[in-house]
């Protein structure tokens, strides 16, 4: 299989020992099976995330992302820049678009980039890994390597916010995107139909600053998954995964609920279905254990 090359922007949460390190582990096998070659952008930096606005301001935020784009442009020419984290993708894509649209911002960004001895020409396209899967690989392509179909599993596809808005996957609706359910079905599991919390916000960064408000969101997201008969939630978003999985115990403690819904990444499902081991799928990295998936992975 000839591999297709992409400039890869992992993002802070996917670093070793960070909150989404299990995601980082799982995409390796998945990409390998699908002919996706991810080439890490050298010395990439943080995108500023959504919460960066408070202190950052517009140009400093754009410049952070312009640095990554410039590095990709310089070191991995001709390759689309791909991120697995929706916040990274959103920040990068927004930067690329804003700079393309405004000569003034582009000039400002390059003036600042010069301090780091860089220059951005605006040629790089910022994409999300899910876009690569849906658009470049396709659902048939995603199905081909399946050796262990996840039969008998009912999974709630939780898309969350930033993979879906404001850009989203081309051709999908903001209110009820279908691709995640189709991906679940592609690996042989059953998507929980009518899961109405599919695009609900988990609270994002406000999980830290406004825990009660955020945990109310999380409780809805988890309870609805139970209501629709799901045994697991799957998501493409690092912050969603962390918030929804980690705070269930807090909610239980405060509100007397008994939530214990595993939350995994689509890439973990695919890695298991493609025959990857428990470790390769990052399934050793959960606070709430996705036992059924772990069992399949062990087989």
């Amino acid at each position: 299989m000839t591999k297709k090359n992409y400039a890869f922007y992992p993002g802070c949460s996917s670093q070793k020992g960070a909150s989404a390190s299990n995601f980082a582990a799982s995409i390796e096998v998945m990409c390998g099976k699908l002919g996706i070659q991810l080439n890490e952008i050298p010395d990439w930096n943080c995108c500023g995330a959504s919460i960066g606005y408070g202190e950052g301001g517009l140009l400093p935020r754009l410049v952070l992302n312009a640095r990554n784009l410039a590095l990709a442009e310089q070191h991995l020419p001709g390759q689309d820049m791909v991120s697995g984290c929706p916040a990274c993708w959103l920040s990068t894509r927004e930067t690329a678009e804003k700079l393309r649209e405004s000569a003034d911002l582009m000039a400002g960004a390059n003036e600042a980039l010069k301090e780091a001895e860089l220059d951005f020409k605006g040629t790089v396209k910022a994409r999300h890994i899910v876009e690569v899967l849906v658009e470049d690989v396709g659902f048939e392509g995603m199905k081909a390597p399946v050796v262990k179909p996840l039969q008998g599993m009912k999974i709630a596809g939780y898309v969350g916010c930033q993979t879906n808005r404001p850009f989203g996957i081309a051709g999908e609706s903001f209110e009820n995107p279908q691709y995640l359910d189709r991906m679940i079905a592609t690996v042989g599991a059953e998507p929980a139909s009518g899961y109405e919390q599919k695009v609900t916000c988990c609270g994002g960064a406000l999980a830290f600053s406004e825990p009660d408000k955020s945990q109310k969101q999380i409780r809805d997201i988890v309870e609805s998954a139970y209501d629709h008969g799901a045994e697991m939630i799957v998501t493409p978003c690092q912050l969603c995964q962390a918030n929804v999985e980690i705070y269930q115990s807090e909610i239980n403690k405060k509100q007397g609920t008994k939530l214990a819904m595993p939350v995994v990444y689509y890439s973990q499902l695919m890695t298991v279905a493609y025959g990857g081991s428990l470790k390769e799928a990052g399934l050793d990295g959960h606070v709430i254990q996705p036992k059924k998936l772990q069992d399949i992975a062990r087989k």
Binding site: N22, C46, G52, Y53, L58, A116, T200, E210
Partner: protein
């Protein structure tokens, strides 16, 4: 702070003009048609004293103090629901971020507003090395209200921390340095320059 003491507007849409010049995507505020879809689409809508719809109306009505000292914009979770639903295609999320940032920069944002604090800590954390150090950030979060409160917070959240450590998703070794960019000096200079350019353009006395 001179900004804050500006003469009372000669024209009553002066605050609107101020927002148009100083706030990210502020030129869109005048395009709101007051339908209220943003207010109804916000996941934390109930927590907003002034919904985006109201904030836009207040800006047009020249309510400078009330808008900039409001904690409403700080309730934004960046879910972008308002953006995709706004029939007038206002970049509402960006305007909320822009207003919050502007208020923060002028020193008018509410003191101790938790999201404002988180935002500040987060930025400082990432700006130091170019990458976020989740452990240091979390600790800074817990200790933002002082040492005693920090210990309490830490104890309250220790279950979560231990869970994450077991799952190898929180690395205690991060305290001793952790991930960072090689060219962190370049990043520092770059951010400083960007800030300088922005302040020059906006006419801030920095």
């Amino acid at each position: 702070m001179s900004e804050n003491r500006q003469a009372i507007a000669h024209y009553r849409n002066n605050f609107l003009k101020e927002v148009e010049v100083h706030v990210e995507d502020g030129e869109w505020v005048k395009m709101c048609m007051q339908c209220g879809v943003c207010a109804g689409s916000c996941p934390l809508g109930n927590a907003w004293q002034h919904t985006p719809q109201k904030l836009f109306m207040m800006i047009r009505a020249g309510k400078r103090e009330e808008v900039l000292s409001s904690d409403s914009m700080w309730m934004c979770t960046s879910c972008y629901n308002c953006i995709v639903r706004c029939p007038r295609k206002l970049p509402i999320t960006h305007i909320m971020h822009g207003l919050a940032h502007y208020a923060h920069r002028l020193g008018m944002a509410p003191k101790g507003q938790p999201t404002r604090e988180v935002a500040r800590l987060f930025w400082n954390n990432l700006a130091k090395t170019g990458r976020v150090n989740e452990l240091k950030f979390s600790l800074a979060m817990y200790f933002k209200d002082g040492f005693i409160q920090g210990i309490k917070n830490l104890l309250a959240m220790q279950g979560i921390g231990i869970g994450l450590m077991k799952a190898k998703r929180l690395n205690p070794m991060e305290l001793l340095g952790g991930h960072k960019c090689k060219d962190k000096d370049g990043i520092h200079k770059m951010i400083a320059k960007a800030r300088e350019i922005e302040e020059r353009k906006q006419g801030y006395a920095s």
